[in-house]
């Protein structure tokens, strides 16, 4: 039977269409059809200036906008050889890690919803709201920030910011334990996700999967540690990898648990950053008056909550990019869906899709 999941469906994370060929309940082939959210991001960039590209990058992965911005400005600053002040570096790391926590909360909450657990979804969104309130305090926007600019950030931290984030961290860290009790170690959840959709490391690397999906398969690869950018070398944090605690290494539960542990690591980074942030400095100091990078090209990767976010920028010396390609981690994650969910049941396809944590905005651009 050829079934069609989506494009309008409660649990595809965005407008995604899956053409599923099933034999009863067992799935034999899945063909994802994407492009419903294609907004010609790359063509628009060729007609905009480098500053005008930043709001566009926000809208690609709309759940982790800070990290999208971060990737772009890191690539641009490498290309133009700009060095930003210390305070800007710390602010960027704080924002990126807060957004990482928010993104993981959404991923885990909606995954629980897909599997049928309605309540943890609301608990996680309640905590995500507190992070969005912090962002609103800083730059006025809750979801799409346009915050990190080439050479600096758009707004300096408001008064009382450090206090607020410390309060949030003190509130949040015990909550992770609560989530573990209610969802992660729940017997029914484990039965739904353990041993399902096992992603072997070689398959993952060949498919270009990265981020928590790759780490769930046991590969210790994190761009923040292995190709460090900004000031990540100064922080002391671990890279959690999947070890098959309740099933096989690389199953859905491992990917889920890696995200839970990553939230804890992000809180560690946040605490260290808040302690060491320089208290004064002009965040607009290093903003170039006119962005005209030298001729050349650059490919730079950063770690977004979904994996390796890469920007390939070709500049021809003019104020507009000649070509800008965004290599999105969710694109590669979705391509591996067919490989790992063949032979499982229809409910498992939903479980696997949720564990890959895709955002269609990033896939389609």
């Amino acid at each position: 039977m050829v079934l069609n999941i989506g494009p309008q469906h409660p649990s595809t994370h965005g407008v995604l269409r899956l053409k599923v060929v099933t034999d009863g309940e067992i799935v034999s082939d899945i063909a994802p059809v994407i492009g419903y959210l294609h907004r010609c991001f790359e063509k628009h960039c060729e007609n905009s200036t480098y500053e005008q590209v930043i709001p566009f990058t926000d809208r690609c992965d709309y759940i982790a906008s800070m990290n999208n911005n971060f990737g772009y400005v890191v690539a641009m600053e490498d290309l133009m050889e700009i060095k930003v002040p210390e305070r800007v570096e710390y602010i960027r790391v704080i924002m990126a890690e807060l957004n990482r926590i928010a993104s993981h909360l959404l991923a885990l909450g909606t995954y629980g919803l897909d599997v049928g657990a309605f309540t943890p979804f609301l608990y996680m969104f309640r905590d995500r709201e507190r992070i969005l309130d912090i962002f609103e305090l800083t730059c006025g926007a809750r979801l799409l920030y346009n915050y990190m600019w080439v050479g600096g950030v758009s707004h300096d931290l408001p008064v009382g910011f450090v206090e607020t984030v410390y309060n949030f961290l003190d509130y949040f860290e015990p909550k992770v334990q609560e989530y573990n009790d209610i969802l992660t170690y729940n017997k029914i959840f484990i039965e739904r996700t353990a041993d399902v959709g096992v992603l072997l490391p070689e398959v993952a690397i060949s498919f270009g999967v990265s981020g928590p999906n790759l780490r769930g398969s046991g590969v210790k690869w994190d761009i923040r540690k292995d190709e460090p950018y900004s000031i990540y070398e100064r922080f002391d944090f671990d890279i959690p990898i999947g070890q098959g605690l309740v099933g096989t290494t690389g199953d859905c539960w491992d990917r889920f648990y890696v995200r839970v542990l990553e939230m804890i690591e992000s809180t560690k980074i946040l605490r260290q950053a808040l302690k060491d942030i320089p208290t004064n400095g002009d965040v607009h100091q290093a903003l170039p008056k006119k962005i005209r990078p030298p001729k050349g090209s650059i490919y730079r990767r950063t770690e977004s909550p979904r994996g390796d976010l890469g920007y390939y920028i070709i500049s021809d010396g003019s104020p507009q990019p000649y070509r800008l390609k965004m290599r999105s981690p969710a694109f590669t994650a979705l391509s591996v869906l067919n490989e790992i969910s063949r032979g499982w049941m229809l409910s498992d396809v939903i479980a696997v899709l949720g564990s890959l944590d895709i955002v269609l905005g990033e896939i389609d651009r």
């Binding site: 049928g116 609301l122 608990y123 739904r192 939903i350």
Partner: protein, 358 residues
């Protein structure tokens, strides 16, 4: 009993017994239908509020008695019911019309006629048959036919999936439920609902009421088996894969709208009441008060029955918002490899207990 009393009361019963019977049945059926409607409103409101409090929300707050002073949203379910009644009745063009229209009624009938054997109080039972509990178990399977009709006639692959899963689930979970009831019947030696409740009068060990749940460890386990199988029969989470929202939109009922959907909805809640009612009767003493001797007039009997049933329904709602859902094959393996063997062992256990310990 009530039907019999009504028949005796009618002055024309001697000359036209058939007509009298029909009239008596109608007079009993209408209050039951009204009761189901009102009860559904109460339970829907309860579900919304309880789920909201469990999820750190506030739930419906708007419409209701006293718009500003008591913002309790008490009229929310009324608004829901009105909305469903006033919605456009869409029948998909390629659906099988006759079956499509018939399906909600059959599902509702399956739940509705089980009410005729529920003992609301000592004197308030529509028909006290000597096979009461057997009758309830039998007619609650009627709903399956309606579900399959709904899934098939919608001409929608997703509905078909939902209907097939649902049918398999309900039929399978009937077995452990029935086996648990057999354990009860073995002790009470009667299948009549009032008889089962009468058996549970008195005290054990001087202070515990002689309810079957406390009687012996095997019936204690049988209660849980029956209750969880009942939750599965109602298609409630953690067994709600047939209507799994995140996978199949609404399962077998995807194509239904308006009043027809309301009927399915209503019958799900009616089913919940039947399951909770039977569990309360067979294991928790029905309309008997926990303190024998006190509070056992018929009015109090109604109160005890309703409160036990409502407590069990609260537990069902609690389950729904706490657990993720089981996958279909896991559901089935829990039933056939878990519950059915335990229920069979229970029957043996009860028999041996009765013979050895009296």
């Amino acid at each position: 009993m009530t039907v019999d009393r009504l028949i005796d009361w009618f002055p024309i019963s001697a000359t036209w017994p058939g007509l009298t019977f029909l009239l008596a049945v109608l007079i009993c059926a209408v209050p039951v239908f009204l009761f189901i409607a009102v009860y559904a409103l109460v339970v829907i409101y309860g579900e919304l509020k309880i789920s909201s409090f469990m999820q750190d929300k506030v739930g419906p707050m708007g419409q209701g008695v006293g718009l500003h002073a008591w913002r309790w949203g008490l009229l929310q379910p009324v608004a829901d019911a009105l909305k469903l009644i006033l919605k456009e009745d869409i029948i998909p063009a390629s659906a099988d019309k006759k079956l499509f229209i018939l399906a909600p009624f059959i599902v509702f009938i399956g739940a509705f006629i089980a009410f005729s054997a529920l003992p609301f109080s000592q004197t308030l039972i529509i028909a006290d048959m000597n096979i009461g509990i057997f009758y309830i178990l039998a007619v609650s399977s009627l709903g399956v036919i309606g579900l399959i009709m709904a899934g098939w006639s919608s001409n929608n692959k997703w509905s078909l999936y939902g209907a097939m899963r649902s049918a398999a689930q309900i039929i399978s979970y009937e077995i452990p439920a029935a086996l648990s009831i057999i354990a009860v019947i073995m002790l009470t030696s009667t299948m009549s609902m009032q008889g089962i409740i009468q058996y549970q009068s008195g005290l054990i060990w001087g202070f515990l009421p002689n309810w079957l749940i406390f009687n012996n460890p095997f019936t204690f386990v049988a209660f849980f088996i029956f209750f969880i199988s009942g939750v599965a029969e109602c298609n409630r989470t953690p067994f709600d894969i047939p209507e799994a929202e995140s996978e199949l939109v609404a399962g077998a009922f995807t194509e239904y709208s308006g009043m027809r959907y309301a009927f399915f909805f209503l019958s799900e809640y009616a089913n919940m009441f039947v399951v909770a009612g039977v569990a309360a009767t067979a294991f928790l003493g029905g309309w008997q008060s926990p303190i024998p001797g006190l509070f056992n007039s018929p009015a109090w009997g109604l109160w005890w029955f309703m409160s036990k049933t409502m407590f069990l329904i609260f537990v069902m709602i609690w389950f729904r918002w706490t657990f993720p859902r089981l996958r279909v094959d896991q559901l089935m393996s829990v039933c056939w490899k878990g519950f059915t063997p335990i229920a069979l062992v229970n029957i043996f256990g009860v028999g041996i207990w009765y013979l050895t310990l009296g």
